[in-house]
Amino acid sequence: MNITQQVVNAIWLGGVYSLFALGYALVFSILGVLNLAHSAVFMWGAFIGLVMVTQFSFSVWLAIPVAMLGAGLIGVLLDAVAFAPLRRRNAPRIAQLISSIGAAILLVNIAQLIFGTQPERFPLGSIPTDTIEGLPFRITPIQIIILLVSVALMALLQYMVIRTRAGQAMRAVAFNQRVASLLGVNVSGIFRMTFFLAGALAGAAGVLYGLAYNSMTPFMGDQVALKGLTVIVLGGMGNIQGAVVGGFVVAALEVFSIANGGSNYRDAFVFTLLFLILLFRPQGLVGQKEHTRA
């Protein structure tokens, strides 16, 4: 495998990781809490996409937005059930973290009941898998789709957060909930919106990941959960650009460790990275300490 090939692989896989990790980063930036049910929402996104293709004969292009909508609504439900009641009682953040673990288990169990534990696949022909000819590296149309969709969604999110009224409100809530509410922002509404966005991004990532590996089980979230966490630790927890950069770094590390014969150890490499960052640069690679004057 040549170096160009590895870079290409790292790029499309990085797109999926970034997309997935952005949901962690969004929720963390607003609530200061890790949503550990995020990987379960990712899995649900993949299955909603799969059902749309197999049961309703949707094209992949149509299945992705439907999966995003469905996963986004699961995100909102997650907030209403696992987070909002604790917030209202001013419960400590650790309680919210534990609550999100419970929600993750529940979501995976429900998926097991409905879909079973055998790997599910997108039907042959629903996705183009032939390698594109005439290029110096191997890339399939699905990999191009993955890259395009993830980059487009990330650009859209960035635009939303920086340019739109809702994005400004999100940033205000992330800074200080009381101040945001005095500025006229409906803080609970922003929480719901954030969970919707995070869920929708996870849903898109789930479908894309499912398409890439074409093997889906209710446990597929486990494959990305800790990688996503590594990505946001690398990128500086609630940092959106950091999550994007981190996704590509983690994917590159994984791809290069596979290419160099370490395929059995690829996760070990990723977790070694996580460990090293936590040890030497806990604010993340692109993160910086906020400096403010009183």
Binding site: R171, S181, L182, L183, V185, R293
Partner: protein, 235 residues
């Protein structure tokens, strides 16, 4: 009917009763000052009106409408705008973004832009620092930004919580100058201050809070003559 009518307001923090029946009014076009010592309940009063705290009993009428216990964002939406204690500008947004954020309840882009230009004309220090992050401003500049941001809502009533706190004497004068200017524009102000002298000089009417109740009230000139108030707050 007064613009703001607060009657018999009680608010607690758990077992601590911070407000024990606060009653006062703000008339249209007036500056009303609430003065009192540390811990008297001034901030708790403002927070109970603006929706940051839920009063346990009592009533808040704004423009004749019962807004007791309303959520903070809905109170702001009515034009009853609080500048909280400690300024609290959004540190990681630029000066201009903070001002746009102030206009969050409004939808009229053209009007917002006009008001933004107006704020920059009135606060040249903010105009010079338009793109600078608010967190890097000095204390006085942050206070101006917090006031400017509140003006972006086009408030019907402005509530200021200790705007002069922690500022050098020169800047305190500047802040009170700004408050006088806002008053001249016809925007009523409910002013909470520990600087009782200046607060009463600028006010039409004043109230003195002691341990969660109103101990004295009256036209500001009269309060300034009251020997008890002179010895306790103006001495």
């Amino acid at each position: 009917m007064a613009l703001l009518e607060v009657s018999n307001l009680h608010t607690s923090y758990g077992a601590i009763k911070a407000l024990r029946g606060i009653t006062f009014q703000v008339e249209r076009g007036q500056v009303v000052s609430l003065i009192g010592a540390n811990g008297a309940g001034k901030s708790t009063t403002l927070n109970s009106i603006s929706g940051l705290l839920k009063p346990s009993s009592g009533k808040v009428l704004f423009n004749g409408r019962d807004i007791t216990g309303w959520r903070a964002d809905r109170v702001t939406g009515l034009g009853l705008v609080q500048v909280p204690e400690g300024r609290l500008v959004i540190a990681n947004m630029s000066v201009e973004e903070n001002l746009w954020m102030g206009a969050y309840p409004r939808k009229d882009r053209a009007g917002i832009q006009a008001d933004l230009n107006d704020i920059f004309a009135r606060f040249p220090r903010l105009a010079e620092r338009r793109t600078q992050k608010a967190g890097s401003l000095s204390g006085g500049e942050q206070q101006m930004l917090a006031v400017g941001r509140a003006l972006m809502v086009q408030p019907t009533l402005l509530m200021l919580d200790e705007p002069s706190m922690g500022l050098a004497p020169l800047l305190v004068n500047e802040i009170f100058h700004i408050i006088a200017e806002i008053k001249d524009r016809g925007i009523p102000i409910l002013l909470v201050e520990q600087n009782a002298r200046k607060a009463l000089q600028i006010a039409d009417y004043g109230y003195v809070i002691e341990r969660g109740t109103i101990a004295y009230e009256g036209p500001a000139e009269q309060l300034q003559q009251n020997p008890k108030i002179i010895s306790a707050y103006l001495g």
